[in-house]
Symmetry: C3
Subunit: 135 residues, 3 copies
């Protein structure tokens, strides 16, 4: 397993971590296999989507903030950040990638994002790579 830090700068933010994940996969020497990208946080998740046009991320975060308002009747959690937990459940704590020819298989427009829903903070991402290594 390998890990790296992510420093987020806003309350809601999707940080492109494609480069860091790809490097860990390359260094693992795994040629054919899988990789799990994992967020050990309960108010942040991992997502895969378009990373070329930042407007896509803008719109996705806007929708999520509208869909899960911070203050809602009946909410009990004392920290007041249940919306952040709910968004983390929606995106999921991890993404599973296919590793092929020593690299993650990503579509032309796809990137890997760390999704911060309760920042700014310094966070951690774990990556585990499994499969057949080069001889």
């Amino acid at each position: 397993m390998d890990s790296f830090p992510v420093t987020t700068r806003r309350h809601h933010e999707m940080v492109d971590i494609t480069r860091q994940v790809s490097r860990i996969i390359a260094e693992s020497k795994v040629i054919e296999g899988m990789a799990v990208v994992y967020s050990p946080h309960t108010t942040a998740g991992i997502a895969i989507n378009e990373h070329c046009d930042p407007d896509v991320v803008h719109d996705a975060l806007l929708w999520m903030e509208r869909q899960v308002p911070r203050i809602q009747p009946g909410f009990r959690h004392g920290e007041g950040n249940s919306d952040s937990h709910i968004k983390a459940i929606m995106t999921g704590a991890s993404a599973t990638l296919i590793v092929h020819k020593g690299a993650p298989v990503l579509g032309t427009w796809q990137g890997i994002f760390f999704c911060e829903f309760d920042g700014p903070r310094t966070r951690t991402v774990h990556v585990q790579v499994l499969g057949e290594k080069a001889e």
Copy 2:
């Protein structure tokens, strides 16, 4: 593959299954690898989130019930539980964990939940662990 039953007691419920999953991983003898926690049901899912304060789960379920009302104009499914299926799609049928030093990698506040969206029932959870075993 290993499996265990989960008995749910309410219509919507998130049951903490961290202990059962951790034991299966320990018994697998896998030291470095991955684990898939899988729900073979179409009205239940698996999620990872805060398992220390039960109010987080309360708020997440409250949001989901509001977001996906049981009765909606245009719904066709004869069993009348399309909302349960939709919530299962939202959380996902599985969670993928990193196994490191013989244990699942979980953040300080993270637990693994079986998410019941059409209970109470007796359900099943499957766990598959893959990776390098201790010699």
Copy 3:
């Protein structure tokens, strides 16, 4: 890794790909392990849910279209399909399956779906299988 094409016929559509995925798993000769089913697209995802009654899929797509309207105040993405990206984030780009006795472990009612959110198009699905092979 193995891949196959999926031709979608509608703007929003969930296409049952259980047969194709099961065949790739069978051909991999893996007896115990995992499989990742992956969509390399940013406006399509992978989901596991009921594939016996098509009304479930109908209701799920209806809910998603209502939940994420195509036109929303504040949306910036020039292509005008941010709703498709958001739905892809919600379902996720992949599903991870358990492979047991040479086949994917699926519940009685479960099937694997390619979720098109910006069709009709010709798309691609990748499948990677990892684990112990038959001798």
